[in-house]
Point group: C2
């Protein structure tokens, strides 16, 4: 997850109490009757310093005893949930069933880890990514990404519930009062565009008057990881940083691209964004910090 790597680079550079992370919830899913919020958890575990870094999800050093035992009852356990990670889902599910909002539960979880930043789900209302894959029908996002490993030709990407989802409490206020906004190097379809499509979000960003920096998730015209290339081509877009930048037109004031994609700078400038050419591959914490420093500098922080 590029956003998590970027966040890890950003953290040493700023006062955490000044940071609000607004998180996509469209890949939330129910497994074994438990509400799993993969992006919220990745952000939380990253900010808590307990995230597993290589595979990009879950908790470092976690074990999978419960999951193994769940296999006995459910047959399939393709979505990997570690023993410690499970505690988060058990707690969240319990709290949601008691009527607490996802926002409140997210805050309780982050406080339990002593996190000083504010982590907000984009919405307390359910919005779910549905991917239509040629020959496989319409799939839930985790089914598509994890179970089928993102294979197949994407025919369409839909956000079920996006039309009626309200921003979570605090989201619009955080955006409006922000000094700077960062769209990290993530898959636009399944992490940034859902947030930008929540009613009031674009207006709040505009109202803030804050500079907005986006970072391309593509390097040399390809995603570092994940199915973004198939999602772009499947929905009729070029597989290019300029195509990603197109999604943020009217939102981002600067757009960071990798040196390998320097040729796209003119197309990005044509979208009304200042192109910034830099090494975007965060292959080490130092490199992530360097990228984050450049982004902060671009934003005047």
């Amino acid at each position: 997850m590029g956003a998590a790597r970027f966040l890890r680079g950003l953290l040493p550079l700023i006062d955490p109490r000044r940071l609000t992370v607004i998180v996509n919830t469209t890949d939330d899913e129910t497994f074994f009757g438990l509400h799993v919020s993969p992006d919220l958890d990745t952000v939380t575990y990253t900010l808590a310093g307990v995230a597993e870094r290589t595979r990009g999800w879950g908790i470092q050093g976690d074990t999978f005893r419960c999951l193994e035992a769940l296999g006995r009852y459910y047959g399939e356990t393709w979505f990997q949930l570690g023993d410690r990670d499970l505690a988060t889902h058990v707690f969240r599910s319990d709290a949601l069933r008691h009527g607490l909002s996802l926002t409140r539960v997210t805050r309780d979880i982050s406080r339990a880890f002593g996190i000083e930043c504010s982590i907000l789900p984009m919405s307390d209302d359910p919005v779910r990514t549905r991917i239509r894959v040629r020959g496989a029908g319409t799939l839930d996002f985790q089914e598509y990404l994890v179970h089928r490993r993102g294979r197949g030709v994407v025919e369409s990407i839909r956000l079920a519930g996006i039309g009626t989802a309200r921003p979570a409490p605090g989201v619009l206020a955080a955006l409006r009062r922000s000094d700077a906004i960062i769209l990290p190097p993530s898959n636009p379809f399944v992490s940034l565009l859902p947030i930008l499509r929540i009613a009031g979000v674009r207006e709040a960003i505009r109202a803030s008057g804050a500079p907005v920096a986006a970072i391309s998730p593509l390097i040399g015209g390809a995603p570092v990881k994940g199915p973004l290339d198939r999602m772009l081509s499947g929905t009729g877009h070029d597989v290019s940083s300029a195509a990603v930048a197109g999604f943020y037109k009217g939102v981002a004031s600067s757009f960071f691209i990798d040196r390998n994609d320097a040729a796209e700078a003119a197309s990005i400038a044509a979208l009304g964004m200042r192109p910034v050419i830099i090494d975007t591959l965060m292959k080490s914490p130092a490199r992530a910090r360097k990228l984050a420093r450049a982004v902060l500098s671009e934003l005047g922080i």
Copy 2:
């Protein structure tokens, strides 16, 4: 749990397909939003051969990673749930929320373990043991037994919901068609009397015409483990096998007591039961088997 030890002794002696185990559910409890059925699980794990034997609950060799992590969210984790054990509670809770009955879930769990006996909860309706303890108010059973370690003077024991609880499907039929019935050496208040108080159970036992053997859970006038002595004295009874036998009057035809309690034989005979004097301490699997063999022999099996 005396019943589990006895069951382990009984298993090698009979065709498991002939055995139905009817299990108390009054110590069921919700922890972390998960439905935990301690007695059903102990029976299931015992019959599956995976039960932890020394401490008397949970799964052999289980780890407690998830529970540790739950502590971060919930603060207290006095009820110990192992990682593998948790899978049972996650599955059961998920299935119950989908509208399946406890009977059905119990069958699914036992089938997942390849168990050939039939395990039935006494009822699909909630019945809960409430213990009033001097100076501590009315406590849920696990709160009393596990959190407070059974300390304090018992003032009363109540079964909330017993008046309206229906027998689980299959319970009355299994009793009616049984060739023999065994009341294992358990705490009568919190395992056998709840079952006997379910509407229709005593009548079904009588209708079966089967011999009924009960085994005293007291040895030398004291429980092997647990708070039965305090429960007996707190509810105005002697702490004696004869007092326990009194609860089964009109139900049991034979009553097994330990050699140390041989003096009680006459009182037991006066209750209309044949007293059988034997070593009842199951300090090894061989001793449990020996006791079970004596019980089967008394029952003509």
